[in-house]
Symmetry: C2
């Protein structure tokens, strides 16, 4: 069974806070896209830290993506995989073409597990931007996508993000973890016990001696 | 200056958790609408507690509403008021008419301050539902809206919610507070200090004696 990693709200808060200066100074996003439900909390926190005095908040668009594991019984075993379903997408009555084309767009989610959802989000958003650019006659302009997640699981990925995104450092995971079960606080049925387990694990880490004594 | 009320993440979590049984057993919502950005966090937490074993999560649609205070300089003083701007609305490519008409729909926000945003949300959503009902030929069916907020400020309101909503108890504020400045944790620039101030206030409340000794 996978190890459980308990993450407190204040840890999530600090992971966002610590990532904000880099995002603000290097990435300069003008639009944030939160992948719900997991991206809602980090996106909302991040917005506070990306606010600069005298400027309005960076707008957030929430999108909803659900990952369904196709059962092997649906077809031959090789076909077993993942399908992503949209439950919500950008609202193009509020997001103008000019809000997308040539802009820096930050995609936020809580965890990069198999990377399937993130691949889907980037791919589909790219398509929308290309279409918008075509309509505006601004195909030459570069729109840059950035990804921020709280945790990246260091494991073989089923999905892929664009090569240039990875090469140009447009992907940031606040923490890289093993193939652990990330227990986020918003899923805790007992938040005090959740915090106790998180603190216990943190203490163990501090007191653990390399030689095992 | 208004008193500041510091709210910790774990308090927000528990306010949602404590409200969930009533919402689940009495309101039975089949769709949640989160008013962003403030509604993102409570909506995500609430979703965990509204999940029943064997059933999928209640879907969340995020909408974005911004409240702009019209400056008196924009016109005669009587015109000074509030306008609500939509930054995101329901995604009707994902939300079917049948997901709305005749259903129980739960609207979630963090705070009911002037009630202007909530009035706008309910009014506009009702219009969409009426239109959907007409298109489906199901005008006779009752669609019920419910509102959940973490905090209601006990103050004169500029907006109003439907009479029947209030009479039938389809409005729930986890806490009713005075006209205080609600400091939510996702806006804290120093979350440890924020928690300290919240705990300090909680201690004062416990130790305060009615006779002032």
């Amino acid at each position: 069974m996978a190890n459980r990693k308990y993450i407190t709200y204040n840890e999530v808060h600090k992971l966002c806070q610590n990532a904000a200066p880099k995002i603000l100074s290097e990435w300069k996003p003008s639009l944030m896209i939160a992948i719900g439900g997991g991206g809602y909390v980090p996106a909302r926190i991040l917005r506070s830290f990306l606010k600069t005095p005298g400027s309005p908040n960076i707008p957030i668009q929430a999108i909803g993506l659900s990952l369904y594991e196709k059962l092997a019984t649906d077809g031959p075993e090789e076909a077993a995989g993942h399908t992503v379903t949209r439950t919500q997408w950008l609202d193009f009555s509020a997001v103008k073409q000019s809000d997308l084309v040539g802009r820096n767009i930050l995609i936020v989610d809580e965890v990069d597990d198999t990377r399937t959802t993130l691949q889907y989000a980037v791919q589909e958003l790219k398509k929308d931007v290309e279409e918008a650019a075509k309509l505006m006659g601004r195909e030459g302009e570069e729109t840059r996508f950035f990804v921020f997640v709280l945790h990246n699981k260091d494991k073989p990925k089923k999905g892929a993000l664009p090569d240039d995104m990875m090469k140009e450092g447009r992907y940031l995971a606040a923490e890289t973890v093993g193939d652990e079960w990330c227990c986020y606080p918003w899923e805790a049925t007992n938040i005090d016990e959740h915090d106790r387990l998180a603190n216990e694990a943190a203490l163990k880490k501090v007191t653990a001696k390399p030689n095992g004594n």
